[in-house]
């Protein structure tokens, strides 16, 4: 039986978090890019980043356990303790190039296993469901705006997800195969909205701006909601983020992670989804070109899944899971977190990976280090009542 400490001793490269009481003042970087990818449905963190050296892992996971590095369909080793799911080959290459890091055993403050409340907490940046108006990313942008540093954001979706909703107007973009309305009609509609409904007018204006950047996609096959690969949306995100005067912050939604039955191991439905995510990250890196250097990609989900496989070779709703931080601006090649272990007595409520790092510590670090959002704003307005949550340190280069 391995205790938390003995596992830490064997996993020599597992990085302990040492948050500092005070943050160094970070200089806001006008070229910094951020893409937030929300994996809706609850990604199985123990399948994406299997702790293959944890003695309880294989038994808990039974028929869906992944095998050790080097064996057929084995995990891609990260640090001798954790590995990546074999479908995540591009992410693995980024990790080795020190452009990706993993935060494990992390969760929002929410503990009750409802997708919808958990997504609300994840995006609102609150302590409890419906605990804040709008989303944390919009409030972070407002804080920057107040400090004279205005930045635009866009949602790669038909409508703006909660994390980006709030005081600041935010645009959205999604692929279209509908015929473009004639300019004359558009002018008339815009006039009507400016006169009768200015909020609608602003919304329409922003949408047209973004569409002008991405260009015509009517020939491309794009279906972010139903398709397995996020590559097409990632490609659009790259074009938006690379455009000289375009938005610097984007949010991309990817659903389909709710793997209750027959989720598979090295192959199978979850492996396909992960491959789609992996393709998207690679596409983003390629299309951002020189801007990749300035980019941070946050990949998060609402909660992890139960530690043990369920009765139908899937996994039920759980608590802690993993998050990724990827990009040229990331000081990567590390697995962060305080591993609680998978032994029965270490599991949260006897069934889930215990959360030892608050996901907000990761969000705060990115907002502070890359965008210079101040400590006071982070602790009070961006993430209400979060004084006790110290930002992680030194995540970006």
């Amino acid at each position: 039986m391995t205790t938390r400490r003995s596992l830490l001793a064997t996993g020599a490269t597992l990085t302990l978090l040492a948050p500092f009481a005070r943050l160094a003042a970070a200089a806001p970087n006008p070229d910094a890019r951020l893409l937030l990818i929300i994996l809706r449905g609850a990604l199985d963190g123990l399948a994406a980043v299997p702790p293959y050296a944890d003695p309880a892992y294989t038994k808990l996971r039974g028929p869906i356990a992944l095998s050790k590095p080097g064996s057929e369909g084995g995990v891609l080793d990260l640090d001798g303790t954790f590995g990546l799911h074999p479908a995540l080959t591009n992410l693995h290459a980024m990790y080795r190039a020190r452009e990706a890091l993993v935060l494990h055993a992390t969760a929002t403050p929410y503990r009750d296993r409802s997708h919808f409340d958990a997504q609300n907490v994840l995006e609102a940046g609150s302590v409890a469901p419906s605990g804040a108006n709008g989303g944390w990313l919009n409030r972070a942008l407002s804080a920057l705006d107040d400090a004279g540093d205005a930045r635009e954001a866009v949602a790669l979706a038909d409508s703006v997800p909660l994390v980006l909703r709030g005081e600041l107007a935010v645009s959205s973009w999604a692929p279209s195969r509908l015929p473009v309305p004639g300019d004359d009609l558009l002018v008339r509609v815009r006039q009507l909205y400016w006169a009768a409904d200015p909020a609608l007018a602003q919304t329409l204006y922003d949408a047209l701006e973004v569409r002008a950047i991405v260009g015509d996609t009517s020939e491309q096959r794009m279906d972010g909601r139903a398709g397995l690969s996020i590559a097409p949306l990632a490609s659009a995100a790259a074009r938006i983020l690379a455009s000289p005067d375009g938005p610097r912050i984007a949010v991309l939604d990817a659903g389909g992670w709710d793997t209750h039955a027959n989720q598979g191991g090295a192959q199978g439905p979850l492996a396909q989804r992960l491959r789609g995510l992996d393709d998207g990250l690679e596409m983003l890196k390629r299309e951002l070109g020189a801007h990749w250097r300035e980019t941070t990609v946050l990949v998060v989900t609402e909660f992890g899944r139960a530690a043990a496989v369920n009765g139908t070779r899937g996994t039920d709703h759980g608590t802690a899971g993993c998050a990724f931080l990827v990009g040229g601006a990331v000081a990567g090649g590390r697995v962060l977190g305080d591993w609680p272990g998978l032994a029965a007595r270490d599991l949260y409520e006897g069934r889930d990976l215990r959360a030892t790092t608050d996901l907000r510590a990761l969000f705060k670090a990115v907002l502070h280090e890359r965008f210079g959002v101040g400590e006071a704003a982070l602790a009070r307005t961006v993430f209400p009542a979060s004084d006790a949550v110290e930002p992680l340190e030194g995540l970006t280069a």
Partner: protein, 484 residues
């Protein structure tokens, strides 16, 4: 010209006014809505449901596909050989056939849904069908729901929308579409005969899947703050073990089917005794004696009349029909009516119609893409032969029919639907409709017939349009038409 209260009745409670509605609704919009409920009690169809036939076919095609995959696996060259052998074609054909079968059913069922909605003479009841179908959502991004979702709505939801909530709940969660969507078909009690057999003879652990139990409590009945715990979810999941589908089981339950579980009627709800967890269970502090399939019904009967359920349903109804942020007093009143009438939905709808809050604020709700498209076609007052463009538009606008992507269904507040891209797509839709309709409709007169009074800006915009078709496009894109 449509009166203000008639416009609320037709557009908010119904699916959008048709040109003749002013005369039909007359001076008593409340009476017009209430009368629709009188005729809404439909006897559920007897005999074998269509969904059972479809599911049986799905199974046959799956077997063919698996057999084909097996053939291909046997033909696979040794790993060192790089080029694959020339495929015999049969497996690809089986996969194509399966996909085509599912697609055909989906296209047919969504077209039928649009057809009924556009032609509905009882649009309030039709809206209730959509509302409850969304409350008990299944999503076609999971196989093979695309071939079942429309039938599920017809068979399980439609007959019960004006009846008692318990009957609606039972019909929804026992329907094979829901059982499959929330993975209950192979969930088995850890101590059940089936799990014990599999453990002894195959050395494999099979057991609970708590998905259906959790979503019934969280989404269908009590609501997320309704006062249940993880233990309640697990215990309820045990209660529901055995709630499955007749015929041979797919993937997870193959072993069980093989060792002689009774088959039941293929493609229909079937209680599998051998998979049921034996023993008494305690859910929400109440003890349920072991009695097989009836346990589940007993728990559902209890949670259906729980105060948390009343509150949850009242909130959702008030949000759908009155305002995104519904008045607390109205929610309380509806919940009270629900409980006093033992979950009789007709009484709740009547209370909603009679409530002063329902008539106070016109255009309080931003239409979903579905509302928008259906009301646009209703305003044209033509039954289109080809309904595929509606599905195409809804897919583009982020509301592909029966594909909410999660068991919570589509969201019901403006913030989820008024994004810039979605707005642009509505304008594109309006432009296309205007081009097609040409000068056949006088847009300003039509605006009065379907919206009632409109703003001066909208009036001027339509009047000044380059031609009638463009005027009609401006009517559809107007701030008034985007709302209900």
């Amino acid at each position: 010209m449509l009166r203000k209260d008639a416009a609320i009745a037709a557009n908010r409670f119904g699916l959008g006014a048709r040109p003749g509605d002013a005369a039909i609704i007359g001076s008593d919009p409340q009476g017009w809505l209430a009368a629709q409920l009188e005729t809404a009690r439909l006897a559920p169809a007897t005999g074998q449901p269509e969904s059972a036939r479809v599911l049986a076919e799905v199974r046959e095609l799956r077997v063919a596909r698996q057999a084909a995959a097996q053939i291909r696996a046997n033909l696979r060259p040794p790993p060192e050989q790089e080029t694959p052998p020339t495929a015999p074609g049969i497996d690809q054909q089986a996969i194509r056939e399966f996909g085509a079968f599912i697609r055909e059913h989906y296209v047919e069922q969504t077209a039928e849904r649009h057809r009924l909605a556009i032609a509905a003479d009882r649009p309030f009841v039709e809206r209730l069908v959509h509302f409850w179908g969304n409350h008990f959502a299944v999503s076609v991004d999971k196989q093979p729901l695309a071939a079942l979702a429309g039938l599920y709505e017809q068979e399980a939801i439609r007959p019960h929308v004006a009846g008692n909530f318990y009957d609606l709940l039972l019909a929804a969660v026992r329907h094979p579409a829901m059982i499959l969507y929330l993975d209950n078909q192979a969930s088995m009690g850890p101590s059940s005969t089936a799990a014990t057999f599999v453990r002894r003879n195959r050395g494999r652990e099979l057991g609970l899947n708590e998905n259906l139990a959790r979503e019934i409590l969280e989404l269908h009945t009590l609501g997320v703050d309704g006062g249940y715990t993880q233990t309640d979810v697990t215990e309820f999941a045990k209660v529901l073990t055995g709630w499955s589908i007749g015929g041979a089981l797919g993937e997870g339950g193959r072993a069980v089917a093989r060792f002689g579980g009774d088959a039941g009627n293929p493609g229909q709800f079937h209680f599998r005794t051998l998979m049921h967890e034996p023993g008494d269970k305690t859910v929400l502090g109440k003890r349920y004696r072991e009695h097989g399939a009836d346990e589940g019904e007993d728990v559902l009967r209890t949670v259906a009349l729980h105060p948390s359920t009343a509150r949850h349903l009242a909130t959702k109804l008030a949000r759908h029909f009155v305002a995104d942020d519904p008045p607390a007093k109205l929610v309380e009143h509806l919940a009270d009516v629900y409980l006093r009438n033992d979950g009789e939905l007709g009484k709740v709808y009547r209370a909603l119609i009679e409530a002063e809050e329902s008539w106070r604020e016109p255009l309080a709700k931003f239409k979903t893409p579905h509302d928008f498209a259906i009301s646009a076609y209703r305003s044209l007052d033509v039954a289109p032969d080809d309904l595929r463009p509606i599905t195409a538009f809804l897919t583009q606008a982020g509301q592909r029919p029966y594909a909410p992507g999660s068991p919570a269904g589509w969201p019901d507040t403006a913030a989820n639907w008024n994004g810039g891209d979605a707005l642009l797509k509505r304008i594109e839709f309006a432009a296309a409709a205007g081009r097609r309709i040409g000068d056949r409709i006088d847009p300003l007169a039509r605006a009065g017939e379907v919206l009632g009074e409109i703003s001066e800006h909208t009036t001027m915009s339509i009047r000044d349009a380059a031609n009638r078709g463009q005027g009609f496009a401006l009517l559809l894109a107007s701030p008034e038409f985007l709302r209900r």
